[in-house]
Assembly symmetry: C2
Homo-oligomer: 197 residues x 2
DNA sequence: CCTACCGATCGGTAGG
DNA sequence: CCTACCGATCGGTAGG
């Protein structure tokens, strides 16, 4: 789950993983290094043998996630699918990331404002660029008459935020399974609620 | 904006308003009472002549917002509109709240986890109940064949989170106006992206 | 990886 | 509404 490479999870990986879980539950600012150390099973001072600072942990989480999405976007842009298909593929990728790795994805989504410069501005730039590329795909679809003539940035805003709401699905007791969730979300976002006869 | 009653904004109102702005920008935990005092224009100790604690401020913000939404829901449930119309009315209410009073609405949405019991559990109960009532409207629409047969809780999740994303619209430079935003969101959420011929 | 400890800052109070 | 101050806790370091 944490690393899909051959080598086993290092202590640093464990720290990042536990940190993502705690930052998600309590928020970055409200999580102390002593809280984190306890969940890892060592003393607070010992954390600093693996990481340089509390902020470095947040940087690692945010950029890991951001790079994963950027890489996926590059692959998608190279494909020959129709625009609406590209949107659906993107949607499913986001949903699956949020279902499977929700802790780090959620932290990257919600806690990035606690980054410090230059990381903060780098992250914001990367994020803005990603959204523009997403919007460009939608605009392409509008030109090709595959997609309704709506404001592309508003559509991106809706989709990205709707997906980050999957966090609350993880919290709920009576939850439908991940595959059903994915299919329902795709239907609602691409075809809407209203029943057309 | 803050109070639409006859009396002018009290110092406490000003504190709540400034607090909402700061909690939104920096988060509840990362905002210190000294930060807040400075933005109000008094010393930190003087805040305590108007409020009892930092947490009391958050409670006031969260329950103000929650009660406003609950009241609106009661009016809506009493109406004779069709289900899909009810959903649209609800959507427009949420969007307008988020466009006009985004600071407190956003804080109520994102920072409630810093509430302490018994406020925390009261808030969660009220929130859960609201979502159930929203889902019930959608389910009613499905039965009446006005709405596609989708999972109602997933639809609620999408709509509420999409709307809370309006926060990022406030941040963006080249933004379409509020009315356009509202109409675009309603179209995308009720009719979807795909162009149907 | 631990013990011991640092300066800074936190939310909040006393007393006027 | 302010000055002065409190105990607690924070992120982080020294030294072993």
């Amino acid at each position: 789950m944490v690393k899909n490479q051959r080598r086993k999870a290092s202590k640093k990986d464990i720290i990042l993983q536990k940190a993502a879980a705690m930052f998600r539950e309590k928020g970055f600012a409200a999580t102390s290094m002593r809280d984190l150390a306890e969940s890892v099973g060592i003393e607070a001072a010992s954390l600093y043998n693996h990481i340089r600072s509390k902020n470095e942990i947040l940087e690692a989480i945010c950029f890991n996630v951001a790079n994963r999405f950027t890489t996926n976007m590059e692959g998608l842009e190279a494909s020959r699918d129709s625009s609406i298909q590209k949107v659906e593929t993107l949607l499913r990728f986001h949903i699956r990331q949020m279902v499977d790795n929700y802790e780090e994805v959620y932290v990257s989504d919600r806690e990035w404002k606690h980054l410090e410069d230059p990381y903060l501005s780098n992250f914001q730039t990367q994020r803005r660029s990603y959204r523009k590329r997403f919007a460009a795909i939608i605009e392409e679809g509008i030109e090709k008459k595959e997609i309704k003539s709506i404001d592309a940035s508003t559509a991106v805003l809706i989709m990205l935020h709707a997906i980050s709401g999957i966090e609350s699905w993880h919290r709920s007791k009576e939850k439908i399974n991940g595959e059903e969730l994915e299919n329902n979300m795709v239907v609602i976002l691409t075809d809407g609620l209203r029943k057309t006869v």
